[in-house]
């Protein structure tokens, strides 16, 4: 297969991508997972995790009603408890951006919209451009685009790079998250390569998954992406954000992910400016654990709203 030649800029990016030893990565993760997060640190971690959630609904059966209810939950996670943060953003299809924007009002909660023919990305660039423009025109604060995995796997890195750069150009100040759908990629080497490529093309955030494919945000994949963010920061001083999405449904996993961020990137990333969880069911588990920490009682899902 013949591909357009790779630009000097991209080829130097690809050349700098190190290999990832999967077993070594798993050992690093096991070490982080063996840490014990207790007491005040646990409460702080749970609150932090809540504040980093992109509360998400991305279904064919989504309606304005569903979106409105989710937006209310985003602002009122559990009114029975004091001092809780709101989530960072809601994440919806472009057709619900306007509705979400309206529902969230002046809460400060961002509206993120998936785009570029989410989730497969199998459409012409013209459609992806219009898709993105539509979301932005409707008020999206953030765009979660998908990359063309087929092109990436066939080695057409320039295509993927150019596409990201073009969408970023459309976004302007709107924050761009680039979804790799790592469950469709193969090795961690590829995860690292696509991370470097996306960061080089202008991604503000890199994101693991659409939530439609398993496995999604696994620890090795997230660790690998964090490594790319760290190396980019060491080289340029620029902070790129990270968004694991899909598969992180328990507090324990979320806290372990945050600890991984702390150890791999540093505490500067422990804010929703640079870290997000793409999740729908995580919020309630965090809330239940939070209540458990406060009351000492194990909690029941019955007492936490399911929007």
């Amino acid at each position: 297969m013949n591909h357009p030649s790779i630009s000097t800029e991209l080829s130097s990016l690809l050349l700098s991508s190190p290999s990832i030893d999967q077993i070594g990565a798993l050992e690093r993760i096991a070490r982080i997972q063996s840490r014990s997060i207790k007491g005040a640190a646990k409460l702080q971690g749970l609150r932090m995790a809540l504040s980093m959630i992109d509360l998400t609904t991305l279904e064919g059966k989504d309606t304005t009603g569903k979106v409105r209810q989710m937006c209310y939950k985003a602002q009122h996670l559990h009114d029975q408890a004091d001092g809780l943060p709101t989530v960072a953003a809601v994440c919806v299809y472009p057709s619900f951006v306007a509705e979400a924007k309206k529902a969230l009002g002046t809460s400060g909660i961002k509206v993120a919209s998936v785009s570029t023919a989410f989730p497969s990305g199998q459409a012409s660039f013209e459609i992806k451009r219009l898709d993105t423009q539509f979301a932005i025109d409707n008020g999206a604060d953030e765009i979660d685009m998908v990359i063309s995995r087929g092109r990436f796997l066939s080695g057409d890195y320039q295509f993927v790079y150019d596409e990201i750069a073009a969408i970023k150009a459309i976004c302007g100040p709107v924050r761009l998250k680039v979804i790799f759908e790592t469950g469709e990629l193969d090795t961690l080497d590829q995860v690292r390569r696509v991370s470097d490529l996306a960061i080089g093309a202008g991604a503000d955030f890199i994101k693991t998954s659409t939530g439609k494919i398993q496995p999604a945000a696994t620890f090795p994949v997230v660790l690998t992406m964090l490594g790319a963010i760290k190396d980019h920061f060491d080289k340029t001083g620029q902070m790129v954000g990270m968004k694991p999405a899909g598969g992180i449904s328990s507090s324990k996993l979320a806290l372990q992910h945050l600890l991984m961020v702390k150890e791999v990137l540093g505490e500067a990333w422990l804010t929703n400016e640079y870290y997000r969880f793409g999740a729908s069911s995580l919020a309630n588990d965090l809330l239940m654990q939070y209540q458990k920490q406060l009351t000492g009682r194990y909690q029941s899902a019955t007492y936490f709203s399911i929007d």
Partner: protein, 291 residues
């Protein structure tokens, strides 16, 4: 008038005289003078260890198959020249039958060890099923330079039985030959020199064990010792003690090398280190990929 043979040392594939310029008279079993042998010095040991060290890398790097063929070549050359060795032994006072038996045993032993060259590894290596995602295997490697105190009871079979298993495994040797009966060993070096054994793999010194053994045993660049038991055991203990300084692996050999059972794989593996290597095994599709 018969031309008499000069017996010299064998170092680095050459036959130099001892740097000391000394010699000693070698007599037959009946006490008749046979020849002058070199009375090697500490400096000869130094030189021999130096060339043995230099030769080690390339010898160890040869394929096992290649080493096998080289040792087999020794058997061929010995077979072709066995008359000479039998004559030499009978002049030294051995009966024809005994001399004949010794040389035939020597040839057999060459063939035996030639066959081992590319087989012992498979028998002492292992793939170890560690409880993590790693491929882990243990394989033998030569120790390096081995100092040999040759059997002092036999002219040749002990010498050959000691050095072949050591060199077949990729080591090089510096040998102190039978002090009283050194001539066959030096003649055997002529076989080595014409058998594709690279210079420096086998180095042979003749002379006084009392004088040379402590130097060899204490040499910091010798990795192991093969000590045939001698009547003077305190000398062997002294050598063992000197060998501790750099933790030479030391083997005491008490065998009667004329016996058929004075051979075996353990004579090879006694001069092998075991190296264990680990490497991660990537998990593909969670290990559920096949079938």
């Amino acid at each position: 008038m018969e031309i008499l043979k000069t017996y010299k040392l064998y170092i680095g594939g050459q036959f130099p005289r001892t740097e000391s310029g000394r010699s000693y008279l070698v007599s037959s079993l009946a006490g008749e003078p046979l020849a002058n042998a070199c009375l090697a010095s500490r400096k000869d040991i130094r030189n021999a260890v130096q060339v043995a060290r230099k030769a080690h890398g390339a010898w160890a790097a040869k394929t096992a198959l290649n080493r096998s063929q080289i040792i087999y070549r020794i058997a061929e050359m010995l077979e072709a020249r066995k008359g000479q060795f039998i004559d030499e032994l009978s002049e030294a006072g051995f009966g024809m039958e005994e001399a004949n038996a010794e040389i035939l045993s020597c040839i057999d032993r060459c063939v035996y060890y030639a066959g081992w060259a590319d087989k012992f590894q498979a028998l002492i290596s292992s793939v170890n099923p560690v409880a993590s995602s790693h491929f882990n295997f243990s394989t033998p490697e030569p120790m390096g330079v081995v100092g040999v105190l040759a059997c002092q009871n036999t002219p040749l079979i002990g010498f050959i039985s000691q050095i072949l298993p050591i060199i077949i495994g990729g080591n090089t040797v510096v040998v102190l030959a039978n002090s009283k009966m050194p001539l066959s060993a030096i003649s055997f070096c002529e076989v080595l020199a014409t058998s594709d054994v690279p210079g420096g793999v086998v180095n042979v010194l003749t002379g006084s064990i009392d004088e040379l053994l402590p130097t060899l045993a204490s040499h910091m660049d010798v990795n192991a010792l093969s000590l045939a038991t001698v009547s003077n055991m305190p000398k062997v203990f002294e050598a063992q003690e000197l060998a501790i300084e750099n933790l030479k692996r030391t083997q005491l050999l008490v065998h009667d090398f004329k016996n058929q059972d004075a051979q075996g794989m353990e004579f090879i593996t006694d001069f092998q280190e075991i190296k264990t290597t680990w490497h991660p095994i990537e998990q593909i599709a969670g290990g559920a990929g096949a079938y």
